[in-house]
């Protein structure tokens, strides 16, 4: 026979479990009813100074929280192939006002802001403002100059400004020696594949974060494809000039140009030639950053990174 106390304990325990399960289920239903109420698009307080004051001096921790929120916001939007990142710049502004020395917020923040959607927010001007604020607060950090020069080079194709920034960065004490080389290379051969390869190799070698290194690998693969396609298209043009028509297949071009074999992309897939002499890659989705070798009207998805390096 159970005592009254034991019965009460059992009933209370069952009631607790049932109520908890019911409230969780209900909340899930409520969330489905109002999907637009997602927290990611809401900035309750958007004044960085106000948040800094409200943090009662614990602004370092608040900056970490806001940086994590920024990463989550960007990650979710990126995953959803979003084309607008309205809260990204304000989140980064709040983060860096709370902690002006939080270097990852500048370095990664610029790479979130600058690239065109869906790869990024497509706001290179905001990225430049963010990096200039970072340099103002951390003038002895050469990597910030490197990241800023990178935005000018990759997104705005403003090679003069990029060279200027690399030059400024090369004068910072303990700056990496390649900053001087980059400044010179940028001034003389900005559009070269060699310059692009040098920049992405430098990124790969200096980055600690695996996602950044993977991103650099993807860009190096893209540079390789762009260079191959440019070279092959030049051979096609030469062939057309000589024969009065474009080659009908890659085998014909290989034979005419005395190539060692069918040229392949970094994944080992053969390049293709269309009837009008255009050179294409086999699987464009595997090379998210290429600018050449794409079929007409191709729309890229968000970049996906390969595990190899």
């Amino acid at each position: 026979m159970r005592t009254a106390r034991q019965r009460t304990t059992i009933i209370a325990a069952v009631s607790l479990a049932v109520s908890m399960a019911a409230s969780v289920l209900l909340l899930r239903h409520i969330d489905r009813l109002r999907p637009q109420a997602s927290i990611e698009d809401v900035l309750y307080i958007n004044s960085p100074k106000m948040i800094k004051r409200a943090s009662l001096g614990f602004d370092g921790l608040m900056a970490c929280i806001y940086w994590t929120r920024t990463v989550q916001y960007f990650g979710h939007r990126h995953f959803d192939y979003a084309h607008s990142y309205n809260e990204l710049a304000p989140l980064l502004e709040i983060t860096t006002t709370l902690d002006p020395h939080l270097l990852p917020a500048y370095q990664f923040g610029a790479s979130f802001l600058a690239p065109r959607p869906p790869g990024g927010a497509g706001q290179p001007e905001r990225a430049i403002r963010l990096m200039e604020y970072g340099i103002q607060n951390n003038p002895d950090n050469w990597q910030l100059y490197y990241n800023l020069g990178f935005v000018y080079y990759t997104e705005l194709k403003d090679y003069r400004k990029a060279a200027e920034v690399f030059e400024r960065g090369s004068n910072v004490p303990n700056a990496h020696p390649f900053m001087k080389i980059l400044a010179a290379q940028m001034a003389m051969h900005a559009g070269d594949f060699t310059t692009a390869r040098m920049l992405w190799s430098a990124t790969y070698e200096t980055a600690r974060e695996s996602t950044i290194r993977q991103n650099a690998v993807e860009h190096l693969r893209a540079v390789q494809v762009d260079e191959d396609v440019t070279h092959l298209e030049a051979l096609v043009t030469e062939f057309a000039q000589r024969n009065g028509r474009a080659p009908t297949s890659m085998t014909e071009l290989v034979a005419a140009a005395h190539l060692k074999g069918i040229p392949v992309d970094p994944d080992g897939d053969a390049y293709k030639i269309t009837s009008d002499g255009r050179v294409l890659v086999e699987t464009p989705d595997d090379f998210p950053f290429i600018t050449k070798g794409l079929p007409p009207g191709y729309k890229p998805g968000p970049p996906k990174f390969h595990s190899h390096s």
Binding site: L56, G57, F58, D59, G60
Partner: protein, 258 residues
């Protein structure tokens, strides 16, 4: 320190332990170890910063809450339970009672901070796999946090010596918030004119300046701390605590306990 003060301090410490104050260490450990693992997965490149910022902020906030909520009851609870009369009927002076209570509470917080510091360094080791020389700066931040506790303990005791526990908590917590804005208050004073400037400047110097004692963010970024800052912050906290304790003694000496 007289043996009577030491005895009251030891009893205050024992009472705090009996009140399960040190249980907050469990919450602290869970918070820190959880954050160390979780943040590494959802953020980028700030694992070390999070452990230091979160760890030291938690040490500070947990300690402030303990200092306020125990400090405000140190005198009033003794009066309410009538144990104060037993103590004062022995050869114990009222000022010795106040000073003993202060050292007891401060001791509790130092022990609490010691265990939390072990937690912070443990989490840091988990995240970074090895200690580096600048990690020693965390000790400076912890020392400043203890200085902050001394100031808050003395203020809680001051309010406890003449007010009810609820009002003492409100006063002490308000002063903690105002003290965190002390630099802003001084900035406002600089912008004002005439009598407002004098009043605002006076208020800015009267409230405790907790922002000077908060070096958490600087330590997280491995910025060096000058020995002058350490010395002057130490003297500031000691003088400020002495001021608040003197006020508490003055009030308590004149208080009618009948």
């Amino acid at each position: 320190m007289s043996p009577r003060i030491a005895y009251i301090a030891a009893n205050t410490f024992r009472e705090a332990v009996r009140d399960r104050v040190l249980y907050n260490l469990i919450a602290f450990t869970l918070l820190l170890s959880g954050a160390a693992i979780f943040v590494g997965q959802i953020s980028i490149d700030i694992e070390r910063l999070v452990v230091i910022n979160l760890g030291l902020t938690a040490v500070s906030l947990f300690g402030v809450v303990i200092a306020i909520f125990i400090g405000i009851g140190l005198v009033s609870k003794e009066i309410e339970k009538r144990t104060l009369y037993t103590v004062l009927s022995r050869p114990v002076r009222r000022w010795e009672f106040i000073v003993g209570k202060f050292f007891g509470l401060a001791g509790t917080l130092v022990v609490n901070t010691f265990f939390m510091a072990i937690g912070v360094f443990g989490a840091l080791l988990y995240v970074t796999h090895k200690f580096s020389k600048p990690d020693a700066l965390i000790l400076v931040a912890l020392y400043f946090i203890i200085l902050e506790f001394l100031v808050i303990c003395s203020l809680a005791l001051l309010f406890s010596s003449f007010s009810s526990p609820l009002l003492s908590a409100v006063f002490a917590f308000s002063l903690f918030v105002i003290g965190s804005f002390a630099d802003d208050l001084r900035g406002f004073a600089g912008m004002a004119h005439g009598i407002t400037r004098w009043v605002a400047t006076g208020a800015a110097y009267l409230v405790p300046n907790f922002s000077a004692l908060n070096v958490i963010s600087a330590v997280a970024h491995q910025q060096p701390m000058s020995s002058q800052l350490i010395l002057q912050n130490t003297l500031y906290a000691l003088f400020y605590s002495a001021m608040a304790l003197s006020g508490a003694v003055l009030i308590f000496e004149r208080r009618n306990l009948k």
